[in-house]
Symmetry: C2
Subunit: 227 residues, 2 copies
């Protein structure tokens, strides 16, 4: 069946979330140490990483926990971390260089485009707004809650349905075999795995995680959909 829509994952597919979050944490820790946190930058950073690993990235009190680890109570130190974290996050919240040069030609060619992402809906929308992408897509599905999230086929089916399409008319592009590729395969979509040059490539655990295509930059989608 002819392809009519292309869906994109958001984090690490349309912009570099990994670099953004790593830089934000590094700058936050630098600012906290410089504001008087009694620790080396190295120790503070690894303590923060342990807290994030334990509590998850949507936890609201990473810096409060970090203060407890180093027995500090100075609100100036927490505030320094919060300001540096948010300023860095905002500064790095820019689309990949080829995000717009991929999406706009797809639209011009008559394809519908959409986003399928996991997370807190308001937070994911905040990202789309700050990325300057809020009006770019025909549909945006944010899946919240473990059972509804990728690799569940539900958000993929919902995105296709929002556009009045069958999943087999859609291509999903994402960077995670265990979320984007598995979920879209289960829904019956075509799948393309985005492999970032500098990073470790995820290996499919079994057939359901195997992508139809592997691409090393978003723009390759343009050649794929014309093939």
């Amino acid at each position: 069946m002819a392809l009519k829509a292309v869906f994109f994952d958001l984090d690490d597919t349309l912009y570099d979330t990994t670099l953004q979050v790593r830089s934000a944490r590094e700058n936050a820790v630098k600012a906290m140490v410089s504001a008087g946190l009694n620790a080396s930058e190295e120790k503070a950073l690894s303590a923060l990483q342990r807290i994030v690993a334990k509590e998850g990235s949507n936890y609201q009190h990473h810096f409060d926990e970090l203060m407890r680890v180093f027995d500090s109570r100075d609100p100036k130190v927490v505030a320094a971390g919060i300001v540096a974290y948010h300023e860095t996050k905002t500064a790095y919240l820019v689309p990949y260089a080829d995000t717009m040069p991929t999406i706009l030609p797809l639209r011009d060619m008559g394809f519908k485009v959409g986003v399928i992402t996991d997370g807190v809906p308001v937070k994911q929308w905040e990202k789309l707004i700050r990325l300057g992408l809020k009006d770019m897509f025909h549909t945006v599905v944010v899946a919240e809650g473990k059972r509804r999230q990728k690799p569940s086929p539900l958000p993929f089916r919902k995105a296709a349905k929002n556009l009045g399409l069958k999943p087999c008319e859609c291509l999903m592009v994402g960077n995670r075999v265990d979320r984007d590729i598995e979920g879209a395969n289960r829904a019956g979509m075509a799948t393309a795995l985005l492999v970032d040059a500098g990073r470790q490539v995820q290996k499919p655990r079994d057939r359901i995680q195997e992508p139809d295509y592997i691409i090393s930059d978003l723009k390759s989608i343009l050649r794929l959909v014309c093939a």
Copy 2:
């Protein structure tokens, strides 16, 4: 006794909080309506102002409440409000033009300078950091909790003590007679009321709220302390 320190209130004394918050709310409402909130800007703004009046300005869910008022559930709308609100707040978080030209000469003349403010300590420190004022003061006292806040004399006594001074060696500068002036008078400090040209002047309710000086711009402090 000779004056040795000058203390400043933060909000509406070192920067224009009123203008900042009003602009942030207006822009947030504009963004929400433009993102699809089913209301006129005027109605949405007055609904938001009612919510803020009822719940207080440190309440975390103003926009969620606003969504309920207009029976909307689109996370894009809330996100649009949040982004516009924070971007506007940040853009307006700049010191009054004469804040630095007042504080630096005071320091040069050998005076200690400090901040005495009410609020959530981390939030008030965030403001000082973004204002570029975090290293400018010899002491910063943030009073949290109703009984410890202005017009209690406690934060004023604490600020003097932090600098090893008696209250009578200190001058407090603020824009509220019922908070800054009354509290500093109760602690035994000299007091200066900052009266903003465009705004209504608060009238003292009784003697304890009467300032020693009335100034219409911060820089006048420089003449006061030399007198």
